[in-house]
């Protein structure tokens, strides 16, 4: 930080190459250093275009193992020109959380890759969800490991039959695709 707060602090604008105690190594420019929390804020990868998106790191300074000074450049941020839009932040987070939800629901926990691909395939034509490692189709038919036609249980005979068919088809498709690759 500036001279005002002491010499042991990091100067804003410095380009540093940093090695952390965890073995990470990276280069970045100091955006700020917050003394009370001992956090160093760095940005990476803006040499090409300062306007572009950058990677930001908040790094606890006490985890820096070593660093070397690469140079000095201008202040990375002009706070007077910065502004935030709460609405967009809000919606951004909201969207992110939704997306995360969707993604999470689609991913089976503790299942094989094959099971997941079967799930994905089934989901194209039928509403599916995971119940642990069991694929639940249309909320009534259950497909459990090893996800063969024989492992389809429950539901009305018609639904059950339908799921079997789709499952077989998808399996076949997956196989051919796998073979093709």
């Amino acid at each position: 930080m500036d001279g005002s707060s002491g010499g042991d602090e990091f100067a804003v604008g410095c380009l540093l190459s940093i090695k952390t105690t965890f073995g990470d190594e990276f280069e970045g420019q100091i955006i700020t250093y917050d003394r009370p929390s001992n956090i160093l804020v760095l940005q990476e990868g803006l040499k090409s275009n300062p306007q572009s998106r950058r990677n930001i790191r908040l790094l606890k300074a006490n985890y820096i193992k070593e660093f070397s000074f690469l140079g000095q450049s201008e202040d990375p941020l002009d706070l007077k020109k910065c502004y935030l839009d709460l609405h967009s932040l809000q919606s951004k987070e909201d969207a992110a959380v939704r997306q995360a939800e969707i993604d999470v629901e689609r991913i089976g926990v503790g299942v094989t890759a094959e099971a997941q691909s079967i799930f994905d395939a089934l989901s194209k034509t039928l509403p599916v969800r995971w119940d642990k490692t069991v694929i639940v189709v249309m909320n009534e038919v259950r497909v459990s490991s090893p996800y063969l036609a024989e492992s389809v249980t429950g539901g009305t005979p018609a639904a059950n039959e339908r799921v079997r068919k789709v499952l077989e088809l998808e399996r076949r498709r997956l196989q051919t695709r796998g073979g093709g690759q």
Binding site: I39, N55, Y83, L84, D85, R98, A158
Partner: protein, 431 residues
């Protein structure tokens, strides 16, 4: 130089304790809603959506939907593959936060579309204003019962959210939220928004001082709004599931119906997954458009052309009236052609069937069967009928047979339906 401002900030805005500097605050806020990797003291890495941060002295952060992406040296209370709804990472555990592709909105920055409308909310960091601090106070007053630190830990669903960095006892970490203002809740999205916003607000207030009072006002109102919701959730911590409808939310029944019928009839239609979503309604409309067969038809009505047909919606009435009149031969015929007589409760599902299909008696009868299955409720009465119907249908195809076939069938239903009157009627009629 943001730092200088930050410096002053810290010293001046003592109301909330020590506050991180403006730039850190700004960058933190820029991270909100972004997916970040957080490195923990024990070497593990969690990825999640940056939700908020405590801007008071121990800088801590909260992630949403976090997941461990790299296992550290310590065991934590967080299962490896599990997604943690809300993860609080304490200052002492925090090593590094890495966010990729962050845009820091600044003048001349492209990609900040909403800039204009947000004018009111936008904060310019530099000047230290008191207004914000004030709003800040109000906020704290409301939510925190006057504590300087907002100690609202609403990691509602307690343990689940908690994160213990392996080395520390889980409970501690979870609890240690006093540093954090976690207004978050496992709630539903809408509230979530507000909540998350709120935090930022907080931050903002502490950190920045906007020259104009306007922004602070908006902020305050927001806060007041959001508070109630948060409370609600607090009361209802169980509101764990984020319920906006997603694929799996589809109701089972309709789907089942669809599939059942489809299987029998025309599998082709099936793939159109969307139908099921709407629940029953889709069916009704569909069946309706098909022609309503005039039941009143005369006995010998075997109008081949008639495709569809009857959708009776009123149940009780339906049976009563329907049978006596229709069961009669006339009725039968059409059914043999293509339709099925569903008698689901509310939904009488008469699915338009392509005529091609019709010819085969089998298909028809099989159609009926699924129906029965689907409508367990009615089975008491329905079952009898359905059974009757299927044979009946079979007979229906050949015109000649139809008449005789019907009679017996129609008779059967009566007892079930218990419409003596109709019985008499039909019987007499036919005999």
């Amino acid at each position: 130089m943001g730092c200088r401002n930050g410096e002053e900030d810290r010293s001046s805005s003592s109301s909330g304790g020590i506050i991180v500097n403006d730039v850190l605050l700004l960058t933190s806020m820029c991270l909100i809603g972004l997916s970040v990797d957080v490195h923990i003291k024990d070497g593990s890495v969690y990825s999640g959506i940056f939700h908020t941060a405590s801007v008071h002295h121990p800088y801590a952060i909260v992630l949403k939907r976090a997941k461990m992406t790299k296992k550290g040296s310590c065991n934590s209370n967080v299962a490896n593959e599990e997604v943690i709804r809300t993860l609080i990472i304490q200052s002492e555990d925090l090593v590094q936060v890495v966010a990729k592709k962050v845009t820091i909105p600044a003048d001349g920055f492209a990609g900040h579309g909403t800039g204009d409308e947000t004018g009111a909310v936008a904060c310019s960091f530099p000047s230290n204003g008191i207004s914000l601090t004030e709003s800040n106070k109000t906020m704290t007053g409301k939510s925190n019962v006057g504590q300087p630190h907002t100690n609202q830990t609403r990691c509602s669903s307690g343990t689940e959210n908690g994160f213990a960095n392996g080395c520390r006892p889980p409970v501690n970490t979870i609890r240690s939220t006093d540093t954090l203002e976690v207004k978050d809740i496992d709630a539903k999205d809408s509230t979530k928004k507000e909540n998350c916003l709120k935090d930022p607000d907080d931050n903002r207030k502490y950190g920045n001082h906007t020259s104009s009072s306007a922004p602070s006002e908006t902020v305050t109102t927001k806060i007041s709004n959001s508070n109630p919701t948060t409370k609600e959730f607090k009361l209802n911590p169980g509101a764990k599931i984020f319920s906006p409808s997603f694929p799996n939310k589809r109701s089972a029944t309709p789907q089942a119906m669809v599939t059942g019928t489809n299987l029998v009839y025309n599998p082709d239609t099936h793939p159109s997954g969307p139908q099921p979503e709407v629940e029953i309604s889709p069916f009704a409309p569909r069946s309706v458009p098909v022609k309503f067969v005039p039941y009143a038809g005369n006995d010998v009505h075997h109008p081949p052309p008639i495709v569809g047909y009857m959708t009776n919606r009123s149940q009780p009435a339906r049976y009563g009236s329907y049978h006596p009149v229709q069961t009669a031969p006339t009725y039968v015929q059409p059914s043999s052609q293509n339709v099925m007589v569903g008698r689901l409760g509310p939904v009488v599902y008469v699915h338009p069937v392509s005529q091609d299909m019709v010819p085969s008696t089998n298909s028809f009868s099989s159609v009926l069967t699924p129906h029965q299955l689907h409508v367990p409720k009615h089975q008491g009465t329905t079952a009898g009928q359905a059974l009757q119907l299927s044979p009946f249908v079979g007979g229906g195809q050949a015109p000649p047979y139809v008449l005789p076939g019907h009679i017996p069938i129609s008779q059967l239903p009566y007892p079930v339906i218990s419409i003596p009157g109709s019985n008499g009627f039909l019987v007499s009629k036919f005999s």
